[in-house]
Amino acid sequence: MTKPCFHCLEPIPEGFNVTIDFDNAKQSLCCLGCHAVAEAIIDQGMSDYYKFRTESAGKVQELVPEQLVMFKSYDDADIQSEFMDDQGDIAELLLSIEGISCAACAWLIEKQLLKLKGIVRVDVNTSTYRAMIKWQKDVVKLSEIIESLARIGYRAYPFQIDEEENQKKQTAKSYVRRLGVAGLMTMQVMMFAFAMYFGMFSGMDEDFEQYFRWISFVLATPVILYSALPFLVSAIRGLKAKQLNMDLPVSLAIFGAYGASSWATIFNTGEVYFESICMFTFLLLLGKYLEFRARLKASESTANLQKLLPLTARLIDGANETIIAAKKLVLGDVIRVKPGETIPADGLIESGSTSVDEAMMTGEHEAVFKQVNDNVFAGTINHDGVISVKINKTGRNTLLNQIIHLQNEALSKRPRIAEITDKVAQWFVATLLIFASITAIGWYQIDPEHAFWITIAVLVATCPCALSLAIPTALTCAVANLTQKGVLIKQAHVLETLPKVTDIAFDKTGTLTEGQVTIIDWQRLNSDFDDKTILLIAKSLETYSEHPIAKAFTSLSSTTTPLDDVQVITGIGIKAIYGDKRVAIGKPNWNTNTCGQFSIYLYINDTAVAGFNLDDKHRAHIDELVLAANNSSIDTHLLTGDPSQSGIKLASNYLIGKVKIGCSPADKQSYVERLSNDNRIVAMVGDGVNDSPVFNSAHVSLAMETGADISKNTADVVLLNSDLKGIIHLFTIATLTKNIIRQNLTLSLLYNGSILPLAAMGLVAPWMAVIGMSASSLIVIANSLRLLRA
């Protein structure tokens, strides 16, 4: 076994011999791209990267002049206005960077960029794969920045955060601020509280005690009026909507106890509870923040979509080709689209023919052959031919935007399940308020002087610490566990909804299958050539094609051989000259009649010498998943856009209950809507753009990591590693979480229920209430922590 490439750690192809000096030894590299990058990194004194990186770098593609021209187009003011606001001399931009794998990458990128003149600030975020860059516009150009990143092997794209994410970021920051205040102040208040505890036993000067109370009051005030404010706001918002939510008892306890303690401080009577309410606020905020942060992380890492549409287009004007901003295209413009580029608007092909990858529309990987007068759609990818397209739809009217519109419409009609938290809260708050009122009225009859204090004691003793920690701690631990296993939860309701799911619907291509063709078997048809030669020629021919089928051949043989006079014939195959032989690979019956049932044939001198059968490989663990679903009596459905029989075959193979083939995005949507109208709770698993509308119709949606960005963005759950086993784990954890939440609720209600009558009778001293409160909270937290190890 040879050593792997020094830069990307991939195997080095046989016969490729390029090395670089590092650490007084010669290190081998796998390609010229990697060599150029490694050279740039080492020459510029950034070799620490290789010492401290924890993940390998990706394989690097060589920079071609074509790309440099594309980079230049980013300097165009029209195009920049798509992703940047005009901000005077200093420009600020977020770049989404491909290939960041560990902290060493972040360091490398920062060093590389700070070398450029005019860069003011670089901040690379390794968890979101983004870099924030500030630079002086008149000193350095954006294209130079992007090019300098390309030199060390990172591809960067301008990127704009959407409104929703921006808001979440602000919320996260305000959480951190409130937490900071609560934490710092609680420590101080606690310190004085301890002094007073000891004072209770050993006696304390009246003056000192009064002084400490005032100091505690001053220190606790920002915690209550600033850190705990969101609870009050949410409780009031709930009341306005005529709902009693969990924040209401929390606010009642915090603000009630604060009011009582302040009263006690100012008029020098009664007890103070500043330390308890500060601690309570801090713990509650901490739980909420941790859960929020896990979800923020999930949505950040999936929202990194490059725009679905390219920013630029090649406009043909007579014989000239100019690169313009794609949004400036108007009806009737003629544009050129080269192989590998994304089509910027809907249109008719005027000249040329090609195959187009419409997977993001239809979910089907098989490229569609297109020739003159065929329609092509914005957002689809041109594979192997150069075409000129006359634009007939732009902007809002393109098919892509119609799908997005469908998706947004479904969002507003999304079915929701009432959350268990709110139900418990309603019940609890109502009981608590009734009980407190009875206590107040009762004691007013017996002993008016103590009525107020005993009522407050009831409120404090029943302070639903444990109750309000019961759900957030369990959710936080469950989300942390799932994140570790590669299941990202983006919406809070997921874990509550999942145990109620009655139906699970799958997309086929890309979800149950890997979404890329592989060779499932092949056969030699002619004994003149040996296996090795056949595979070598087949692979070498396919390296000239951009077609997705070509990828299936890359693993066939470790080397390639140079071919002459290569011609890619769109929709048919590839032919070339190899030595003195005419070789070709492609469709059956090309030039000569073929026998057998293969989908691809290799021809040498016009004779078919080998046949290959290709198919989309099924993902592992489908059977386990379907079995698990059956065991929990969940119905399985397969909804595929593919009109062929392969969906039915797959379903009967794995015993999937119901199948519907040839579905459009709207078909899938109405199928799921019909199910939910029958009071079924539906989970949808998918990957493509065509699945994003149905995601919003289902109660829970799960997207594959390999899927289209837009579907990952819409989905509630993203399965990293695209492992179907993750779904089983998700269901297990969701059920477990439900159980743990139940236990937590029971425990805390037991505590609150038993202390309530005692407090109402005026038998509970404040320190007893505090111990009971802390103990019940700790038990609940410990119980939730079990989820981490599940």
């Binding site: 360091w107 901040d123 601020r177 900071g180 101080q188 000192f208």
Partner: protein
Amino acid sequence: MSIIYILIPIAVLLVIIAIWVFFWAVKSEQFNNLDKQAHSILFEDDKEQHDKSNDH
């Protein structure tokens, strides 16, 4: 003991300063990406200088 009438307000003042610094740190996004900071100590800011000093 009457010294605490002065010392405690000073302590409170220090806490207020600490909170002000904390708010500034949040505002300048220092809490955004905590993983990276943990690794930054491993990397040398100025490789060439370091190499030179090693040569002597």
